[in-house]
C-alpha cells in the first residue's frame, strides 16, 4: 500500500522532506521509523493524518505520516 512520509528539522539531514513509500499491509509506524534508521528515543512527535499517534499504530492505504524530533518554541 502507498503511504506518504514527511520528515522535519534534523530528521531531514541525510534523508528527505517528503517521500511516497510502498509498504506491506499491517506495517506499523514503528517499522517505518526503524527502516529510516531513526532511534526511537529521538522521536518527539508522531502525527498520522494530522493527529498524534503511537508507534504501534498500524498504517492504512493513503496514510500521511509525519515524524518530528523533540522540538518546542513559544
Amino acid at each position: 500500500m502507498k503511504i506518504t512520509v514527511k520528515l522535519f528539522a534534523t530528521f531531514r539531514a541525510g534523508r528527505f522532506a517528503v517521500q511516497m513509500q510502498d509498504c506491506a499491509p499491517g506495517t506499523r509506524i514503528a517499522d517505518v521509523i526503524t527502516a529510516l534508521e531513526i532511534p526511537e528515543s529521538e522521536i518527539g512527535m508522531i502525527m498520522l493524518n494530522n493527529r498524534h499517534a503511537d508507534p504501534d499504530h498500524q498504517l492504512e492505504e493513503g496514510a500521511n505520516l509525519s515524524l518530528f524530533p523533540l522540538l518546542g518554541g513559544g
Binding site: K6, F8, A9, T10, R12, A17, E42, G44, M45, M47, N50, R51, H52, S66, F68, P69, L70, L71, G72, G73, G74
Partner: protein, 576 residues
Amino acid sequence: MDKILRVNMSDLSTKVEAVPAEWAGFGGRALTSTIVAAEVPPTCHPLGVNNKLVFAPGLLTGTAAANSGRLSAGAKSPLTGTIKESNSGGSSARLLANLGVKALIIEGAPKQDKWYSLHLDKDGVKIQEETELVGSGNFAVVQALEARFHKKVGVISIGPAGEMKMASANISVKDPDSKLRSIGRGGLGAVLGSKKIKFISVDDQGGPGVKLADPEKFKIAARTFAKTLLDHPVSGQGLPTYGTAILVNILHEVGGLPTRNFTAGQFDGHEKISGETMHATIVERGGKPKHGCQAGCVIQCSQVYNDKDGKYLTSGFEYETIWGLGADCCIDDLDDIATADSIMDDIGVDSIETAVMFGVAMEAGVLPFGDGKGVVRMLRDEIGKGTPLGRILGGGAASVGKTFGVTRVPVVKGQGIPAYDPRSIKGIGITYATSTMGADHTAGYSIATNVLNVGGRVDPLKKEGQVELSRNLQIATAAVDSTGMCIFIAFPALDVPECLPALIDMINARFGIGLTGDDVVGLGKYVLKTERQFNIAAGFTNQHDRLPEFFSQEPVAPHNAIWDFTGEEIDEFWNF
C-alpha cells in the same frame, strides 16, 4: 536589590525608597502586579495620570544563573483595560539589578507638552528634558545613546508608535548586540508615551552588584540548572538550531496553524516560511542561526537574519511574527516578513498584535491577503507616520475590526489571539479565555502538552484535561515570570526532575531562605489571584473569559473542529 526608585512625572521629582517587607519576596511579574494592584485605581484611564508603569528585574536577575536576565514591565493596559505584565530579554534587567534597583515606578504625567528621558546610575535616577531623539525610531535611539554614554549603556525606549500612544505600542530593550528585544504585548509603550518619556538609559558602573547569601550552594545549584537546560532536546538542541519558527511546520501538521484570518488550520505556503527554510536561508547568507538575547543565555533561540546581500535585516525573528504575517496574512515571502519585523522593531509595535491586525485588515479589504509589500509600506508610511489610517491600524486588531465592521476578529479582552487555533488545540483556548492578560499564549503554554509531548500528553482535539492543564501551566508560569527566567526553561522544568529543585535552590541560596516547591506554586497562585482581583475591580466578569463567537460557529479544517467549551466549563479554571 534593596531600593525602589519612584519617578513622578507630574512634578518631575524622584525618590529612593527602601523595599517594604511585604515586597521582599517578590520580583518580576509578582512585583509589578503587586504594585499595580496596590497603587493603580483599577478604573483609571490607562493613558492618564493615575496609571503607573513599573519595571522590575526578577528574583534571580543579576546572578550567574543561566537565562535569568528578563525584565518585567507592568501597568493597566491601554489595549485590554486589564492589568498587564509583559517581559523581554536584553541587557537592562541585569543592569538594574546591579544598581540594586528592585523596581522603578513611574507615576503621574507632565502637564506641559515636553518630552523627557530618565537616566539611572549609581547615584539614583535623573529626569532630563529630551528634544533630539523625539520622533526617532528605536534603532536610532540606541545608536545615539551609545554615542552619548558608552557602548555598554542599557536602553529602554519607545518608537514613534509609543510617542503617539497607539494601543499596540511596545517597549524596546537593547540587547548585547545593540539590537532590540520587545516588551511586546498590551500597549505598554503607549503608557510610557503618556508619561512623555522617550527612553530610559541605564549605567551600572559603580553599582553594588548582586550579593548571594550562600555562594557555594548557589554555584552547585546553578551548574545543575544549566545542565538541565542543555540536556533537554528542546532547549538544548531544537531551539538553538531552528529558533521558534520550527513551530510553523508542526502547527501546520497538527492542523492548528491559523490561516487567512483564522479561516483555516493549514497554510499552503508553510514550507516557504518554516523554521527549516529560515535556518537554511540564514546560513546561506552568513547570518547567525544561533544567538542569545541576554548575557548568560544557554538556550540561544534567537538568530540574526540577513537580506540577500548579506546585510543585517532583523534578529529575534519569532514564530509568532512569521506565523502572523505568513499564514494568517498569507504572505509566503520570508524576506518581506523579515523586513516587516525590522520595521515593527523600529517604530515600536507588538509584532503579534500587528500581525493579527493585518489579518483582520485584509479581511476588511484594506489591502489584499498575501500583499507583503503592502504590509511593509503600511508599517513604514501609515503606522510609522501616524496618518489617520495608521492610527486605526496601530490601535490593534479589535480597533480595525470595529472600524471596518468585521465579525471575524480574533481577540480576547481586546488583545489579538496568537499563533495557535483554539478549535484544534483546545488547551491553548482555555489559556486565551482565562488569562488575566487577555489572549496570551506564553501565560499558560498548553501547546507544550497538547502538541509537543512535553510534560505529558493531552489530546488537543478533546476537552478532557485542558482546564487542569492550563491552570497548572498558568500558575507555574506566573511563578517563573517572577524569577527573571526566560519561559523556555519550562521545557526542561516539565520533563527533567532536577530542573525545578535546582531553580528553587538558587533562589534559596541567593536570599538565604528555604522555599519549597509548594511555596513556588503558592507564589504563582497569589500572582494570578491578585491580577484577577484587579480585573474584577476594573469591571471584568466571567463573561469576558470567553472566545469570540465565530470560534463556536465556524469549523476549521482539517479537523472541522469548533470551540465547544461551555461558560461553566471555562469558569472551572478559577477553582483554586
